[in-house]
């Protein structure tokens, strides 16, 4: 198992880890807070004061950011096999104490799910189907034909580019303590990532669509496809 690739700069930033494990726990908590709420200078200043020995708040922030980058690269490099995590970490930081390594491993494995979904489908964001509304219509007259009876199924497709439902829920934060501007920005973001489509189809095509989709689903459950997917994995 190879070690994680970290730049020298990142290693420098992570020198703060050579401390007591409880301090490292504090740092890891800060890192997770960073992921959700962004940087928090007051907290870093308090931490820096606590360490007292000539550490600046900037250094603490850099350490926190380096921790996040460690989390991401660990998630990227190491597959789902949790067994190797500790070995990898040990190889990456040969000079760290056992208890600190344990804290780090816990940090990486526990926050892994949070990062994983986002990373894996983040590169090319396609639209996902979130919801579907439908209505059965009968068109009875038009400007060019006063008497007709045309049955149409109208559907509204709600599409979203966010990676996955569960991740969106994880990332969802309470709206209460936010400023007007922030809310607006969030709505804008929402608007950018969403697309609602109005489409129609006829009943005959609908039946065909169902059949085709079921075929697709059945195909995905065949031994062959499963073998391929597992082989890739």
């Amino acid at each position: 198992m190879s070690s994680l690739r970290l730049s020298q700069q990142q290693r420098d930033h992570l020198t703060l880890l050579q401390r007591h494990s409880s301090d490292v726990v504090e740092l890891c908590k800060s890192a997770f807070d960073y992921l959700i709420n962004g940087p928090n200078p007051d907290r870093y200043e308090a931490l820096a004061k606590k360490y007292s020995d000539s550490e600046s708040p900037e250094a603490v922030q850099q350490a926190v950011e380096a921790l996040i980058s460690l989390l991401i690269s660990a998630t990227t490099r190491v597959g789902s096999s949790t067994v190797n995590m500790q070995a990898t970490l040990r190889q990456t930081f040969p000079d760290l104490g056992e208890d600190v390594l344990e804290v780090l491993e816990q940090f990486v494995t526990s926050k892994r799910n949070f990062v994983e979904g986002s990373i894996k489908s983040a590169n090319i964001r396609a639209y996902r189907l979130v919801n579907l509304d439908w209505r059965l219509e009968v068109r009875t007259a038009s400007r060019s034909l006063l008497k007709k009876c045309q049955v149409v199924v109208t559907m509204k497709l709600y599409l979203h580019t966010e990676p996955k439902n569960e991740n969106r829920e994880l990332l969802a934060v309470d709206m209460s303590g936010r400023s007007e501007q922030e809310l607006k920005a969030m709505q804008e973001d929402e608007r950018l990532h969403r697309k609602d489509m109005l489409v129609q189809t006829d009943v005959s095509s609908l039946v065909h669509m169902i059949k085709t989709l079921e075929d697709a689903l059945a195909e995905s459950k065949t031994r062959r496809i499963r073998n391929i997917v597992e082989g890739i994995h």
Binding site: V138, R143, C149, Q150, V203, V207, H208
Partner: protein, 553 residues
């Protein structure tokens, strides 16, 4: 069960009047079964061609009919066990299940349709539309999927679902020669004759549609004329020409020097004031004119009133001028008129008498006629009343019969409630039993665990002492034996439980099989097989008979 049968028979009677509602389901012959099932199937899927009756003779034919009906039932979605045997060797249980399924599948509209047929054409637009929608939907659900590019051909018959949408985008400036050739100028005529594109070229662009364009133009031509008069004002106000001219004017005046402009504006101001004063003057004049006109009409009215009075006065003056002579003249005139009047009254009396008499006569005749009419009416009404009472009696009798034969709805609901209550009770019981079982299981587990621990402990204890003590050794052996025997016993008990369970299942199965009265069916089947053999032998005989002369010749 017989209630269900009653309902089934009632429905079957509605489907096929040949099936009497009084018959018993268990007594159905294969012919009746075929009739009932094919009747139901024909109602559910009218497009299906199914045999209506079971042919009496050849077994092969009978078998074919029964198989096709079974296939039909399967296609309708019946999940139960069905085959030719259901029809040829019917048993009540299976038949009941099948018929219940079929009756549930019967289209709900049937009754309404029957009502509608009796009324004929009283369908509202709404109903017609609903029917059409239904038809369209069933058609679309049933027809196989056709790729889009083949739809204009494939779905031609069903008139639709070509799934192609063309937006209604007319070319709003369609250029077509207008109706009257006289209105066209020479240049226009020449243009239309030589250069103008035809209507197809004008709508060739993919952004507009030919039919939309012509519909639009036609409507514009028709309504444009009607609205043009009232719309003229509107059009004029939109005209951009006027503001353009004024703008030009103002620009021109700005080029000149200031003083003449001032002068001109002063002049304009003066003229405006003058105009205003003249207008007010005109207004006052108009008011006076109106007042004068009013006076004139009043005066003419007065004159009209006075003129007849004047005439009267003139006449009296004439009479009074020569009073004596005139008085005599008037008296003679009076006398002559009086005599004349007397003769006239006499004459009137003569005429009046016969007329009065005839009037009297007519009056009495009319009264008599009326009386006669009323009498007739009374008689008619009496007859009607009798008929109605008779009808009432009849209906009463049928009502009584009906209420006797079919228990009222209330009764049914009461019974259904009862059933539901029973089922609830049973469910509660089942839950209770389940709880008990679970409790027992728990206890068993606890006791088992306890026992195990006890055993382990004892085992340890004895094992320890068995090393030194001979008796203990024996005791240990005995303990091991005891343990083995006990576990064997437990196994036996659980085995017994399993066996009883199997026995019960088998009993249920046996009951089910018993219901199917296999024996009679078997007899029938053997009879049919014999018939088959006979038939085959006959056929073989025929073949032989046919072969022999051939061989002989």
């Amino acid at each position: 069960m017989d209630e269900v049968d009653k309902i089934i028979m009632h429905q079957l009677h509605a489907v096929d009047p040949a099936i009497e509602p009084t018959e018993e389901l268990s007594g159905f012959t294969p012919e009746q079964v075929v009739r009932a099932v094919s009747g139901c199937l024909a109602e559910i899927r009218p497009d299906l061609q199914l045999p209506r009756t079971l042919p009496g003779g050849a077994m092969a034919l009978r078998f074919g009919v029964a198989s096709s009906l079974a296939q039909g039932c399967k296609d309708t979605g019946y999940r139960g066990d069905i085959g030719y045997q259901t029809f040829l060797y019917p048993n009540a249980v299976e038949l009941r299940r099948l018929l219940m399924f079929l009756i549930e599948q019967l289209p709900r509209e049937r009754q309404n349709a029957e009502d509608g047929a009796s009324k004929t054409k009283s369908l509202s637009h709404r109903e017609l539309l609903q029917r059409q929608i239904r038809k369209e939907l069933t058609q679309q659900l049933k027809t196989p999927w056709v790729p889009q590019f083949a739809r204009s051909v494939g779905n031609r018959k069903s008139l639709g679902c070509s799934s192609l949408g063309i937006e209604f985008r007319p070319n709003i400036n369609l250029n077509i020669p207008s109706a009257n050739p006289e209105e066209r100028s020479k240049e226009q005529q020449q243009y239309f004759d030589q250069q103008a594109p035809n209507v197809f070229q004008q709508t060739a662009s993919s952004r507009v549609d030919l039919i939309a364009s012509v519909l639009h133009k036609n409507e514009l031509d028709r309504w444009g004329q009607v609205v043009s008069d009232s719309a003229l004002l509107f059009v004029a106000s939109e005209e951009p020409a006027t503001p353009l001219i004024s703008a030009v004017k103002s620009a021109a005046s700005a080029d000149e020097e200031v003083s003449p402009l001032q002068e001109l504006s002063n002049e304009v101001q003066e003229l405006r004031i003058q105009c205003e004063t003249l207008l007010t003057e005109r207004k006052t004049h108009a008011a006076t004119v109106a007042a004068l006109k009013q006076r004139e009409t009043k005066a003419s009215e007065e004159i009209a009133r006075l003129q007849p009075m004047l005439k009267l006065h003139e006449r009296t003056c004439l009479v009074l001028a020569d009073s004596e002579e005139n008085l005599v003249k008037l008296e003679t005139l009076l006398k002559t008129t009086q005599t004349k009047r007397q003769t006239l009254t006499l004459q009137w009396q003569d005429y009046r008498k016969p007329l009065l008499e005839s009037l009297e006569k007519l009056k009495t005749a009319k009264e008599a006629q009326e009386v006669q009419g009323i009498r007739n009416n009374i008689e008619q009404l009496e007859q009607e009343l009798q008929a109605k009472t008779q009808q009432h009696n009849e209906l009463n009798a049928t009502l009584r019969n009906a209420s006797q034969s079919l228990a009222p709805r209330k009764e049914y609901t009461r019974r259904i409630h009862e059933f539901i209550g029973n089922i609830r009770k049973q469910r509660a019981d089942i839950y209770k039993v389940l709880d008990d079982t679970r409790q027992l299981q728990k206890q068993l587990n606890v006791v088992g665990a306890q026992l195990q621990r006890q055993f382990n402990y004892t085992d340890d204890l004895l094992f320890q002492s068995a090393k030194h003590d001979l008796h203990a050794k024996r005791a240990y052996k005995l303990l091991a034996q005891l343990h083995a025997n006990c576990s064997e016993l437990v196994e036996c008990v659980s085995l017994t439980g399993n066996v009883t369970k199997q026995i019960r299942e088998l009993e249920v199965q046996i009951d089910g099989e018993k219901l199917k009265n296999v024996l009679t069916s078997l007899q029938q089947i053997t009879g049919d097989i014999q018939k088959f053999e006979q038939h085959i032998q006959e056929l073989q005989g025929q073949i032989r008979a046919a072969e022999q002369p051939r061989a002989g010749s």
